[in-house]
Symmetry: C2
Subunit: 226 residues, 2 copies
């Protein structure tokens, strides 16, 4: 596998994260960079989903990926094989990224020609939900083995996401997972959230997800490309 | 289902968590209370594992359970059916419990006659590992669908645990999970960690886990019971 660049992220000096996030979002809009903040529990399939998404969108957008992890670079190595631009962000034990840390990551990635940037956030359903990264849109992945009750237990995460992918639908027969209940619980937290069942491994449902992402990114970049 | 008591946990006033944890651990030892701190990702099966553990040990120990969650009381309701004493702890958005918060929980549980107390920590592989709760032993559950690479990505969690249960072994045929690699990665982080593959749903491997727990709790309580 290729060598990947690793950036050690420093703690933010800004107390007003919401303001920093708004500034970053505005800057990205002006530059025509759509930034997706991808969140989930550890092991829900963020990297596999991302690999297939890149495969399906790489002819339409120049893609850049920031892989945030406390340690290791296994995900960044996997992504580097896809042809997307990638950088590994090490958070130094921190459980989330805020807007200033995301800004450091974007600078490390060198977004010059990037049109669609993805931040694969630290695997955690609690802390990343509390910090606006400045992303254009928030997405999360809930995988079938985790159970349909998670929106009841991690309310903030579901309420801040524009889209929820329910991944690993290929193993539905082996788990007590109620898709309708899951949709209901998600919409209790966030009536506007789009819910898309997918299987990143088999590709099931991925077309609907990619269509959503493509439209959101194109709309975001409209004023730039017009 | 029964009504369960809910305790809203307050933020700690102590800066020296390690000292508070050591004090609590000593107090629990003197009272003959063994406290297990049970950690994992969301959806790895903490509650199901705990239900079966209670079933297997309820004639040997008086058991008390603290269910820590950001919101909801679904787990505490499930545990209350087992006959164990239970209290739901709401962390008010906080992503972990420290020693003082655990002390609040134990006071709420009223540990008078409890011999084996379990803290089901917030589902999170990052923050709970950073705070000593004062527990006698730390346990974590990694479930097969999460993948065998997790010790590479969440090093601290694996290094602080005395025992790692690898849960949901019944779905091993449907996932690319390498048990030997997983053991190897865990032991890279923590050569002393005991690794026990289990399936809380079918009961496979649970005897070995319960035997470990029973011995640890009995040893802890020895000076009290002699």
């Amino acid at each position: 596998m290729r060598e990947v660049r690793v950036l050690e992220i420093k703690q933010s000096v800004f107390a007003d994260n919401d303001r920093q996030a708004e500034l970053l979002r505005q800057e990205l809009k002006e530059k025509g960079v759509f930034l997706l903040n991808l969140m989930s529990s550890p092991g829900s399939g963020k990297t596999t989903t991302l690999l297939r998404t890149i495969e399906m969108l790489k002819d339409k957008f120049k893609i850049g990926v920031m892989e945030a992890d406390i340690d290791s670079d296994v995900d960044a190595r996997a992504i580097s094989e896809s042809g997307a631009k990638v950088i590994q962000l090490h958070t130094g034990g921190m459980c989330h990224l805020d807007a200033e840390m995301t800004r450091q990551g974007l600078a490390g990635l060198e977004t010059g020609d990037v049109e669609l940037a993805v931040l694969e956030n630290v695997g955690n359903l609690v802390c990343p939900a509390e910090f606006d990264t400045g992303a254009s849109r928030n997405a999360m992945i809930l995988s079938v083995p985790e159970g349909h009750d998670k929106p009841l237990k991690y309310p903030l995460m579901f309420s801040v996401c524009d889209v929820v992918l329910i991944n690993k639908t290929d193993v539905l027969p082996y788990f007590d997972f109620d898709m309708e209940k899951c949709r209901e619980y998600i919409h209790m937290r966030n009536p506007e959230a789009k819910v898309i069942p997918v299987c990143a491994r088999t590709g099931e449902g991925m077309a609907e997800w990619v269509e959503w992402l493509e439209k959101e990114a194109a709309d975001w970049r409209k004023h730039k490309t017009e």
